[in-house]
Amino acid sequence: MLQGTLEVLILRSLRPEPNHAYGISLFLKQQSDSEFLVDNGSLYPALQRLLQRKWIAGQWKTSPNGRRARYYSLTPTGRKELLRATSKWQRFAVAMAKILAPEG
């Protein structure tokens, strides 16, 4: 995965609602049709980095099945960052597609 990709994906996964680490990894797996299998060794440090930058906030809550878990939610800065990153990635993807497209 490209540098910084995981952070953007995590931000995206938190846009609909707050979620915990396990939930985030499930979301990414399902949304990418199992293309992205996120290793916990990458996910947790990425979460910590996002916390450090104050793009997400963590809060301990009880899940629907009665387990306590740390739920992450987007902060206003995180939301802005997601918007910025989304447009950047879209431009990047279009540019890549143009170059890689078969000639003719």
Partner: protein, 877 residues
Amino acid sequence: MRPWWSKIEHAFGRRRRLASELEQEMDAHLQFLIDENLERGMSPEQAQAAARRDFGNRTVVQAGSYQAWQFPRFESLLQDIHYALRGIAKAPAFSLLVILTLAVGIGANTAIFSFVNAVLLRPLPYPSADRLAILWSGLGYSSRAPFSSFEVFHLRQRSTQFDQIAGIWVTNGALPGDGPAEQIKVAKVTSNFLPLLCPRPAFGRLFGPDDDLENAPSNIVLTHGVWARRFGSDSSIIGRTVRFGNRRATVVGILPASFRLIFPDDASVPSNVEVFESIPVGPWEPDGPSFLHVIGQLRGGATLANAQTEMNSAAAQINKLGGRASVGHFSVSAFPLQADTVREVRPTLLFLFAGVATVLLIGCFNIANLLMARAQRRLRETTIRAALGATRARLARQFLTESLLLGILGSVAALATGYAAIHAILAARPPSLANFDHVPLDARVLAFTLAIALGISILFGLAPVFSVRRINLTRDLRESNRQSTVSRKPWTSVMVSAEVALAFVLLTSTGLLMRTFINILHVDPGFQASNVFTFRVSVPGYAPLRLIQQKLAAFPGIQSASTVSHLPLDDAGNWYDYYYREGASPAEQTSVMADHRSTLPGYFSAIGASLLEGRDFTDTDDAQHPHVAIIDDVLAHQLWPGQSAIGRKINLSDSPQGFYQFQRDWAAIVGVVHHVQYHSLTAIVRPQIYVPYPLAPRPSMSFVLRTAGSDSGLAAAVRNAVDAVNKDIPVTNVEPMQRLVDRAHAESRFASLLATLLSVIALVLATSGIYGVLSYSVARRTTEIGIRMAIGAPRAQVLHMILTDAFAWILPGLLAGVVLCLAVTPMLAHLLYGVQSTDLANYTLTFVGVLMVSALAAIIPARRAMKIDPLTALRYE
């Protein structure tokens, strides 16, 4: 504000909290996985095992997260500093040695650079100092002579490149105002002189065009010092008329306290002038005496080269105007005032600068060796940390922090050393530096010191990092704690050789300067200073002067007493002119310059100068009798080579009509004396001509008293003798003649003293470098030596082995030093007297000296190696 350690505490506390939170989060994550597995129908054990497998390696998760927490740079910087302090404290001997070496090396550089900065780099403290030039006239043999009023007038007329051309002449005079009479230096200046050097006076005004008029009132400007000393800093003195010698003058202005008169040492413009008086310049006397030292301010945009071209054509025109310049070789040279002022001291300062740089370089090699050895000892620590996952960048940063911290401690110590050294040097400074009494640690000096300290720290901080780069985990962990056999580190031996070479160069140079100093000490100055005391006095004429001489001669402690217008080796207010023999061609008439001295009979025996031929003056040598003169052997040889000068006629300028009323006159030579060194001990600047006082009266004279050796009661006797004439006549302090001789030695003493100091430091550093490297090498080879001895190597062979090793560094270093010296020492020629830079004895002595001292440094570790007990050595691990 919490103290800094609590910040660290806090940082570590935060980390513990974050870590426990991460644990809980991972537990929760696992629980989700277990719950799911249980739903799929696994047994609790299976569910747990599968969940653990799916979750992955907890340690990796932790390590990754910890790295994310390191983010606040400040925290990790504090951590680095914390480690670095611990590292420094754990090796106190090492740290102290490094800091001391830096303190001495950088401190010496800071001190000398401060002088280079203050003297050579900083502009003179004058407005538009970069546009100030000094002009010298050339006529006959002299190229650095003053100008006559006539010449200054005509130069001004023809100059477009100079806005201003101003002149100064310093003479001895009386302290103005009421109170005890005192002799001081008085400068006669053209009215535009002071405004060139001083933007505005502290009070009153400087001289203006009105002061140049021929019937201008007698106005004076005082320095801040004399105003405070004599007039109690009373500003109402402005406009008042005060007593000034035997006349009165009006005080029109006070100079600011910061005003300094900074002129070349040979311009006879000392910095201790206290009163300025205006002197007009005009075309009155084409043959008038040359006495004005001239400066010019370049017009904005003008270059010195253009000004010089203009001066050349002006000089050519002045040649055609008649007078003494008409014989056709009058010339004018212009130099930047700043460069000309420091001309004499520049080579000394640059030599010292090179010397301290050499000391620093030797110190750096020592520090580099120390740090290498330390990095080697810490290889195991470094390797383990690398194995535990410390990145190279992280290790590099930590090593750098440690050496930077050492560098900062070193530079703080260096600034303290440098500050102390500046004051020590100021106290011992020679006359050529006398005008520079303000040598600050300014921003440029601080930047210089910091740049050196940081440069060294970064350079040496990176050395261990390069060793980290080559880390080979398995090999290093296996070997680092073992006494490896000889590890030939080419750098180490090159550095030791370089230290020896540099120390050799510095010692050779010092040897040359010491020889110079000794030679100067043994110069025959043409007089005998021991037991001679002098004082200066202002006397209105011959009769009172003669009376004082008679009174003094009658004093029991005084063997002979006489007086002269200028003391030997006291160049201030000097007076010289052109002299020619009877029948000289016009060109020859301005080819010989000589110092003009006015004396009373008995001067030669009082000062201890030897009369080679003829007789001394007598009381009847006056204006009414045939005019006579005494010359020195140098002048006699120049005018009448190979013949006796006695009875010959010489054309000179004298003033039998009164003070400074000069006229050309013919005198018969009645005596020839041995040349007296009037200017410096090392050069015959000009020959001398002596004229009896009645033919050349001067308002201020120096008495020379030859005593039995003690000056007790002398001051009272002097005052008593002078009071017999007039109680108001000013007298300077009675001082031994030796003081002037010491002053003449000062330049060479200063250079050789500092050079010796630097050489000692260099030698100590180089020796400790040899000692340190060799000790380290012996320590590392303990096992090897043990084995050698166990299998039968005799102790002598071990000693021989280690010494061979040492001399493999020392000898190439010495040879490199000789080559370096042959290239470098010719540059010292300027500073040497009576010794060649290639002096064989000096080379030999230095070579043997350095060899012996290095051998001494090598023999101690070598003997330690010899005493190694094979059994202990083999069990050493």
